[in-house]
C-alpha cells in the first residue's frame, strides 16, 4: 500500500495579502515532512478560476519546488488538463520531462479533461470535445517522450516533425494516470493501460466496482506506452490520539471542503451534453454512518479520520478491495492549524504506516 498526499491548495476568504503565500508555504513544509516520514508521493491538481476551492493553477511550479526541497518522495503532476486550449500537448510533454529531470526521475503524470464549466468556458473550450482531445493527447505523450523526432496530424492538434526536448529521465517514460471522477473513466484507463487516479471520494462499494472493472479490462488493454496498472483512491487524513478531537477537527475540514466543492459550477449543470455524464462532485458521499450505533462519530465510511486504530481499519478495508495506494488531503480552507496537520502526519507515519509496510516487507 502506497501513501500519498494530495493538494488542491484551497485558500479561504478573505483573500488578504499573504494568505496565498501562507497556504503554499504550509504545503511545502508538509511536503518536506512527508518526504522525511516516508510518504510515497505528493500530488498537485491543476485548476483555474476556482475561488477558494483551489488556487493551484500552475502545479508544475509548485511541484518543482517540492522536488527541489525533498529527496525521495515522488511528485505527482495530477492532473494536467489535456485540452490544447489549456495546455498544448507539446508543452505538457516538455514541462513533464523537465520536472522528471529536476526531480531525478520522480515524476508521475496524471491526466484529465476538467469537469467545471467555470474552467472550460474560461478557456473557451467546447465541452463536447474534451474527451477526444484528452484521448489524442495521452496517445501522443509517450511518443513525444520516446521518439527522437515526433510528428502528429490529429483532430485537436497537429505538429510537423520536431524534436520534443528534453526527454524524461525515467525510461521509457514517467507513469501515466487518468483522474477518475465519474463512473466509466476507469474503463478508459484500463483500455489504455494507464493508472486509475481516484480524485473523488468514493464509497467502498463504488471503489470495489471500479477496481474490479479496471483489473478485468487492463488484462486485454492496448497500451499507449509503458503500462501503469495501479489504482489509487482519494481520502482525507486527520490522525489524532483523541478520537473525539480527531472527529471534531477532521469533520470540520471535511465540511469546509464539501461546501467549497459544491459551490463549483460543474459542466453538466450548465451545459446539456452527453460528454459529461455526472456532476462530478468531488465531495465525499453523504456520511453513511459506519456500523451505527457503535460509531457515533459521524465520520463517513472509509475516511482516514480518527485515532490510529480506526484509520488502520479503514485502510485495511481499502487494501482488501484491491486499491494500491491512498492519497490524502491533509487540510481544506486552512481549517486545521499547521502544527496539527504536521502532528497528524507524524502520528500517521508512526502508528499507521508501519502496519502496512510490515505487511509488504514480511
Amino acid at each position: 500500500m502506497r501513501f500519498g498526499i494530495f493538494y488542491e491548495l484551497s485558500v479561504p476568504r478573505p483573500f488578504a495579502p499573504g494568505v496565498e503565500r501562507s497556504v503554499y508555504e504550509n504545503a511545502l513544509e508538509q511536503v518536506r515532512l512527508a518526504d522525511e516520514l516516508g510518504f510515497d508521493s505528493v500530488w498537485a491538481v491543476e485548476h483555474h478560476f476556482l475561488e477558494e476551492y483551489s488556487h493551484c493553477s500552475a502545479p508544475e511550479l509548485f511541484l518543482t519546488a517540492c522536488a527541489m526541497q525533498t529527496k525521495r518522495i515522488r511528485v505527482g503532476h495530477g492532473a494536467v488538463v489535456c485540452v490544447p486550449a489549456m495546455n498544448h500537448p507539446v508543452r505538457i510533454a516538455e514541462r513533464a520531462a523537465v520536472l522528471d529531470i529536476l526531480s531525478g526521475g520522480r515524476l508521475e503524470l496524471g491526466t484529465a479533461r476538467s469537469s467545471t464549466w467555470t474552467e472550460l468556458a474560461g478557456f473557451e473550450i467546447d465541452p463536447d470535445t474534451t474527451k477526444q482531445t484528452w484521448d489524442e493527447t495521452i496517445r501522443a505523450l509517450p511518443r513525444m517522450w520516446t521518439e527522437e523526432r515526433f510528428s502528429w496530424r490529429g483532430t485537436s492538434f497537429s505538429v510537423p516533425e520536431r524534436a520534443i526536448l528534453p526527454k524524461p529521465v525515467q525510461k521509457p517514460h514517467p507513469p501515466l494516470w487518468v483522474t477518475v471522477t465519474s463512473p466509466g473513466t476507469e474503463l478508459d484507463a484500463a483500455e489504455r493501460g494507464i493508472g486509475c487516479l481516484g480524485v473523488a471520494a468514493a464509497s467502498f462499494k463504488e471503489q470495489e466496482r471500479r477496481t474490479g472493472e479496471y483489473r478485468r479490462r487492463i488484462q486485454s488493454c492496448t497500451p499507449i506506452g509503458a503500462v501503469n496498472s495501479q489504482v489509487a483512491t482519494l481520502n482525507f487524513l486527520y490522525c489524532s490520539e483523541d478520537p473525539a478531537e480527531a472527529a471534531r477537527t477532521g469533520l470540520g475540514m471535511l465540511g469546509l471542503f464539501t461546501q467549497a466543492n459544491t459551490q463549483l459550477l460543474f459542466t453538466r449543470e450548465a451545459y446539456p451534453t452527453r460528454a459529461y455524464g455526472s456532476l462530478a462532485n468531488l465531495a465525499p458521499a453523504p456520511a453513511r454512518r459506519e456500523g451505527s450505533p457503535g460509531d457515533p462519530s459521524g465520520i463517513p465510511e472509509g475516511m482516514a479520520i480518527g485515532d490510529p486504530d480506526r484509520i488502520v481499519r479503514a485502510i485495511k478495508e481499502w487494501e482488501s478491495i484491491g486499491v494500491d495506494g491512498v492519497n490524502f488531503l491533509l487540510n481544506a480552507m486552512e481549517a486545521i492549524p499547521q502544527e496539527k496537520v504536521l502532528a497528524s502526519l507524524r502520528l500517521f507515519a508512526r502508528e499507521v504506516m508501519p502496519k502496512f509496510r510490515k505487511r509488504e516487507n514480511g
Binding site: P12, R13, F49, L50, E51, E52, W117, T118, A121, L256, T258, Q259, A260, T262, Q263, L264, L265, R268, E269, A270, Y271, P272, T273, R274, L279, A283
Partner: protein, 245 residues
C-alpha cells in the same frame, strides 16, 4: 465561503402570498420549453441571493419559457428568470422574476406555487432553424431571445433543478422549494442569442447577460408537485430548512 447577502427586507417586498402548503399538484401535459442560459455579470454574485443561499461561481441566468397549450387551466405561457445557487450543498435556482399570460393559469401558479408571475404577452415560435421567444408587458419589450440551429440531444442529457420561490407563507417569509418534475420526450440543443433583456423587470437591476452558455428546446410533461420544503431566507439553509409536506 461566499454566501448571499441580499437584503431580506427587499426580498419580502417582492414576495407573493402563499396561503397554504396544501395546494394540489398541477400536471401540465406536452409543455414546449425554451431555455437560454447566460453567465450573469455586472453584480457581485453574493448580492443576488439571501443569506440562505450561496451563489455558484459564476452565477448563471437561466431564462426559460414554457408554453402549455393543453393545461387544465387553459392555454398559457410562462417566462422565468432563475439564478443558479446552492442551498446547503444542493444545486438550486432562485426565482428572480416571472411573467405569465392566461389569467387562470397565472393565478393558480401564484396561489399554489408562489411564482409571483406578472401579466405579460409571451410568444414562443418554432421555425425550422430556430426557436424565438418574446416577452412584452404594457406594450414594452422585456425579453427577446433565440435558440439557433437546434440539434437533437438525448432527453437524459438535460438537467433540471429545483427552484426556490420567495413567498410570504403561513410560517412567515420563506423560500418555497418547487420541485418541478419534467418528463422530457424531445430535446434539442441550440446556440443562445439574446437581443433584448430588461434586468430591472427581471428582478436583477444592474446585472447583464455577460457570456452565452447554452440553449435548449424541449417537449415534455411537467408536474408541479405539492410543496415539501421551505427555507428561511435569513439564515443558512443548513439551519433554516423546514419540511412542510
Amino acid at each position: 465561503m461566499l454566501e448571499g447577502n441580499a437584503d431580506v427586507a427587499a426580498l419580502a417586498k417582492r414576495a407573493p402570498r402563499l396561503e397554504s402548503f396544501e395546494a394540489e399538484p398541477l400536471a401540465l401535459p406536452s409543455v414546449e420549453i425554451l431555455q437560454v442560459t447566460y453567465e450573469l455579470g455586472g453584480r457581485p454574485p453574493e448580492s443576488l441571493f439571501p443569506p440562505a443561499l450561496a451563489p455558484t461561481l459564476p452565477v448563471l441566468a437561466v431564462l426559460s419559457v414554457w408554453r402549455s397549450a393543453d393545461s387544465p387551466l387553459g392555454p398559457f405561457a410562462l417566462a422565468q428568470l432563475r439564478l443558479t445557487c446552492r442551498s446547503g450543498v444542493r444545486p438550486r435556482q432562485l426565482l428572480a422574476a416571472s411573467f405569465a399570460d392566461g389569467d387562470r393559469a397565472r393565478a393558480a401558479l401564484n396561489e399554489r406555487f408562489a411564482f409571483g408571475a406578472r401579466p405579460a404577452a409571451i410568444r414562443l415560435e418554432r421555425f425550422y432553424d430556430r426557436v424565438d421567444a418574446r416577452v412584452e408587458a404594457d406594450g414594452r419589450p422585456l425579453l427577446d431571445v433565440r435558440a439557433l440551429g437546434p440539434l437533437p440531444l438525448a432527453t437524459g442529457d438535460l438537467q433540471f433543478f429545483s427552484s426556490m420561490h420567495p413567498a410570504e407563507t403561513p410560517k412567515g417569509l420563506r423560500l418555497v422549494q418547487v420541485d418541478a418534475d419534467l418528463a422530457i420526450t424531445r430535446a434539442e440543443r441550440a446556440s443562445p442569442h439574446v437581443s433584448h433583456f430588461e434586468p430591472d423587470a427581471f428582478g436583477v437591476p444592474g446585472a447583464k447577460l455577460a457570456y452565452p452558455v447554452a440553449a435548449f428546446v424541449a417537449l415534455g410533461d411537467v408536474t408541479l408537485p405539492r410543496v415539501r420544503f421551505v427555507c428561511r431566507p435569513d439564515v443558512n439553509a443548513f439551519a433554516g430548512t423546514e419540511r412542510v409536506g
